[in-house]
Assembly symmetry: C4
Homo-oligomer: 230 residues x 4
Amino acid sequence: MYQALKQRVLDANLKLPKYGLVTFTWGNVSEIDRELGVIAIKPSGVEYDVMTVDHIVVVDLAGNQLEGTLNPSSDTATHLELYKAFPNIGGVVHTHSRSATIWAQAGIDIPALGTTHADYFYGDIPCTRKLSQAEIREEYEKNTGLVIIEEFAQRKVDPKAVPSVIVSGHAPFSWGKDAIDAVHNAVVLEEISAMALATRSLNSGIKIQPELSDKHYLRKHGENAYYGQR
Amino acid sequence: MYQALKQRVLDANLKLPKYGLVTFTWGNVSEIDRELGVIAIKPSGVEYDVMTVDHIVVVDLAGNQLEGTLNPSSDTATHLELYKAFPNIGGVVHTHSRSATIWAQAGIDIPALGTTHADYFYGDIPCTRKLSQAEIREEYEKNTGLVIIEEFAQRKVDPKAVPSVIVSGHAPFSWGKDAIDAVHNAVVLEEISAMALATRSLNSGIKIQPELSDKHYLRKHGENAYYGQR
Amino acid sequence: MYQALKQRVLDANLKLPKYGLVTFTWGNVSEIDRELGVIAIKPSGVEYDVMTVDHIVVVDLAGNQLEGTLNPSSDTATHLELYKAFPNIGGVVHTHSRSATIWAQAGIDIPALGTTHADYFYGDIPCTRKLSQAEIREEYEKNTGLVIIEEFAQRKVDPKAVPSVIVSGHAPFSWGKDAIDAVHNAVVLEEISAMALATRSLNSGIKIQPELSDKHYLRKHGENAYYGQR
Amino acid sequence: MYQALKQRVLDANLKLPKYGLVTFTWGNVSEIDRELGVIAIKPSGVEYDVMTVDHIVVVDLAGNQLEGTLNPSSDTATHLELYKAFPNIGGVVHTHSRSATIWAQAGIDIPALGTTHADYFYGDIPCTRKLSQAEIREEYEKNTGLVIIEEFAQRKVDPKAVPSVIVSGHAPFSWGKDAIDAVHNAVVLEEISAMALATRSLNSGIKIQPELSDKHYLRKHGENAYYGQR
């Protein structure tokens, strides 16, 4: 019943090792079918090189398992919160990709420093606040989602315009219109994270010009976008 | 009619992923046929692994599209300005290669620090000034070209002796006698940018000896060059 | 007689070049059969691409060679001490993997800075004290093991909860329930070492929240672990 | 007549791209036949992927070309000086490998910081003084060799115990008992150069314990060496 959705989610998960975003079984990608109200997601702890479409798990928005015999990713509750709070997103990915994780560990927003960033992200990429002891102790994965949502709400950041976040002390989450698009954004996030690290070591106070950020973001994503084929 | 030119431009574009200079569809290479007054260039937003010679777009120096059904690279206007202002160049390439982009984001010239640099570039590689708000708002890509040209004119730098530039807050452009030669210079630019980052972190005030720069540049490119086979 | 053990040790050794943990013949992996009281280990100075199961050397816990015509790894005495002192470990690996070695050379514990670390290591990864001149002069490899054991004892660190160490001025050792598991931990060690280097350069005082470390370590390794398939 | 020598030199040159030590045609390896008094060396500016044994050039110790129709490497005169001054070496290699070149550009000796270094190099790897304007202007490549030799003589460093040097503002040279051994040392040099960069950024004053350096160097290279198979 969910075969096409599961196949897309498998394909998107297999992009993670291809793009060098994961070590071992780290990382997970999901996609939502909003009409059916179901999410397909990677199983927990399965190696990428033996993963098949039958391993992909389907759950509903309350987290009930509808298909698949394996446990879903232990981060499933985070994905569910993001889908519920961000109605325009169709895919979510979590990795521990090296450079984005470095910024998350440092607890510092990834600053917008150039047009590579601006082509995909409209402004700095937020680092969440730390979770409280209570938030960590109970329903940790769900609370990780809630803290991300809180960060975007408080900063009035549109998750469509900034399709990634780093969770303090942890690692990044990215999203997109579907699973493959989420992975695409995760690849870009890793590249701009690496660039930002070295840029700041060369010039600690530098920021992108706001009008340059506007130009690059809007020529790709704005109403009058003229990048690519239309 | 432009088949050979288009094939060379396709081949040069396909070198970008081969040399690790690009992520996804980022980057673009063009070549000019000065007799015919036409430029062949990569289409905008097409994946490298499906790109064929039929995707390559041909435009004249005024930017009119002569061949190809896809939109040319959104950076075409920058290429055109460079071809018009620098009469000795035959190929242009734009990438967001990591280390060169880091220097561009930092807004700092890439300093000549050793013979690897001097073998290809005669002196520091300029970082342009920032574009003004007006230059960004209208004809941004054309103005990017004009700011590069202004930088070389004001510094009295010969674009043949320094076949690369970094645009402040953005990324590098390189050029050469043809498309493949431009890509060759882009590869070297990336390597020396990476070396310069770490060299300056070890020894912040270091510069190459001017006479060593002269020697290495001129033994390859001077009148009495003796490097390679002649 | 020890064919299966030797095959597992060969397989684990061949993972070292696969995961990019070694240059040339550097590095060695062993596994113990605690019932038989024997250890299989890589021979000294043999290239990975010609290594076969017949090259693997079997020794007893006193270091007497039981099988194999080649000399065992020159680090065999270190492995033996670790097996004798840490009764729960089944495999040991030594590499000079780049980032972990950098921390060893700097003589600084690898700090726990994020959940990637906490998923595998419960707290900082100790750097041993320097060996004395006498410890270096005689029975150096045995003393390397003894200094590791002393470090864990003095700090009251459980080698099962922190399955790696860095030896001051030298390089890392990792261990696990068998040879493959030890190599798995060595791969993670290298990744978190690289992340920690850059994290500290961004934010020199940062540490992981203790409750986040607890959560991630215990959701994978605690009594009520819920990560992966069970 | 020199077929076997030329084949060994070809094989050693082809290791340079394999080990990631070179970009394009950068780098060159030679080997000497001391009985015949001839040196085989890479031709100048030939791509590695089309290089055949017939491209390898043979010269005598005075630099006279005995075999081959192509020009020898432009660095041949440096190789000749090293062979004449260091009677125990049989192979020489020059690269612009990234991390070693960074130290050369910074003009700083590569410090001995750990056992990875000590396994191959007995003490710091010297950075030469700068060449004078006169030394650069005339017979530059020969003078590069002479400055290396001067550095080892003045510091009383045995070129067999420290089989590499970095030339100030330029790049490394390595040597060994034959061409392949020289390349082997160049690979190690690159690895320890990368490690030393990050080690010093973590702990700027650190040095290896002298007795640890002795132990590791001598257990591999001393009279009573016990590393590897004998």
